[in-house]
């Protein structure tokens, strides 16, 4: 990447920060509200979805990843992929442990 050698000067415009902040606050209220109504099985995915969205906003804008090098993206994605491997393969055991053998 060509722009490495000068300190990068892409300063995020103020409105971006405020919009993100408002979205985060709204997400918090929404997730709290959604938890008070019984949606059956859907409650959990909704809460997780909102949390993930909030996290992505923070990562992209507050942590400037949207302007960052490809390498930064790789680092972040890799860490979640690795965590995913831990979850998927461990659950593969727990969820099939008592399956019948035939």
């Amino acid at each position: 990447m060509a722009d490495i050698h000068e300190a990068p000067h892409d300063v995020t415009p103020l409105p971006t920060y405020f919009f993100v902040f408002i979205a985060l606050a709204a997400g918090t209220l929404l997730t709290w509200y959604a938890s008070t109504i019984n949606l059956g099985w859907a409650n959990t995915p909704i809460a997780l979805f909102i949390a993930t969205t909030k996290a992505v906003l923070v990562i992209l804008f507050f942590m400037h990843v949207i302007h960052s090098t490809r390498l930064t993206w790789v680092v972040i994605i890799a860490s979640f992929v690795w965590l995913g491997m831990l979850f998927v393969l461990t659950f593969a055991d727990y969820l099939t442990r008592f399956w019948a053998i035939d």
Binding site: F98, A100, I101, D102
Partner: protein
């Protein structure tokens, strides 16, 4: 020394032993050949091309791609074959033959306790008939142990949390080692014993020797002692479900999920009854965690398993909450 006579290969004394050994021998031959090949190549090449005045600098060679492809693909095919073979064997070990004789085992620091269906109990010694599948249901009272019969090529960890099941069918009469192979503390290496494989008639004779009644009948006594029978009656008048024909049947739970009533379900029903509530009943059964030890639990299990008959899932007249 008089140690001239020592074994290099373990005795084959069960039906799976032959199959395990076949896989082992195949792997030994192929992998042995590959290792020898690598060693030979290394030494032959290293000597052929050793540094000499006329060989001060290597001659560069362009790497042919086909060579790389070969040594990726050929081993890979072999690996997959090994995988399939190994898995086939594993499934065979996991699937218990139907007509198996049931034996119960408890591991505790540092001994093995075995109980026969007829009620005989033995410690660090196990008598079984030859040529008959033996199914061992086992649990641990403390830490993880592992029950290992080297001559039968089977082992399984024995957990403190749930029942594990293993099986074998001995093919030779004789005495063979039992080892504990999961490290379990001070006397791990002393947690050993012998399995006595006998002719069926000898086994019957051995069984005839003193016993405190069959396991199931001992379980029945406990069933009264712990007052299970006050709720679990034989007709649908008790506060709990009738246990007749429960073992192996499919139970519908309060949340409409279904489970198969196997050893671990029955165990859980006794130790933490609230975990899975049977549909139509209230969560009133008290836990027996801490009151029933592993031995008694096995007896209760044997008793519940012995309650044959058609499953009747009639809820009580006035469901309590």
């Amino acid at each position: 020394m008089m140690l001239t006579d020592f074994p290099l290969f373990p005795e084959q004394a069960s039906t799976v032993a032959k199959q395990t050994d076949a896989l082992f021998i195949m792997l030994t031959i192929v992998c042995g050949a590959v290792s020898v090949l690598i060693f030979t190549m290394i030494f032959v090449l290293a000597i052929m091309y050793r540094r000499r005045p006329d060989n001060e600098l290597a001659q560069e060679e362009e790497a042919p791609k086909i060579l790389e492809a070969t040594w990726i693909v050929v081993p890979f095919i072999f690996f997959m074959a090994t995988f399939v073979w190994g898995s086939w064997l594993y499934f065979r070990l996991a699937r218990v033959p139907d007509n198996a004789l049931d034996i119960y085992a408890t591991g505790k620091q540092w001994m093995w306790k075995f109980q026969h269906p007829t009620g005989q109990r033995e410690i660090d010694e196990l008598h079984v008939p030859v040529n008959r599948p033996i199914r061992i249901t086992m649990a641990s009272e403390d830490v993880i142990h592992s029950l290992f019969f080297p001559s039968f090529r089977v082992k399984a960890d024995v957990l403190p949390s749930r029942y594990r099941i293993m099986w074998f069918q001995a093919t030779k009469v004789g005495r063979f080692h039992i080892f504990c192979t999961e490290y379990c503390g001070t006397l791990h290496s002393g947690m050993i014993g012998w399995v006595d494989v006998m002719q069926p008639t000898d086994y019957q004779k051995w069984l005839a020797g003193g016993s405190e009644g069959s396991l199931a009948s001992q379980g029945q006594a406990l069933f009264q002692k712990y007052a299970c029978n006050t709720c679990h009656t034989e007709d649908a008048t008790g506060r709990g479900p009738v246990l007749l024909g429960l073992y192996g049947s499919t139970v519908t739970l309060a949340n409409n999920a279904t489970v198969v009533a196997d050893e671990n379900y029955i165990r859980e029903s006794i130790l933490s009854p609230q975990a899975k509530i049977v549909k139509g009943f209230g969560p009133i059964m008290p836990t027996f965690q801490g009151q029933v030890n592993e031995d008694d639990l096995l007896k209760l299990l044997a008793y519940v398993r012995s309650l044959a008959g058609p499953r009747t899932t009639t809820p009580p007249k006035e469901p309590k909450s």
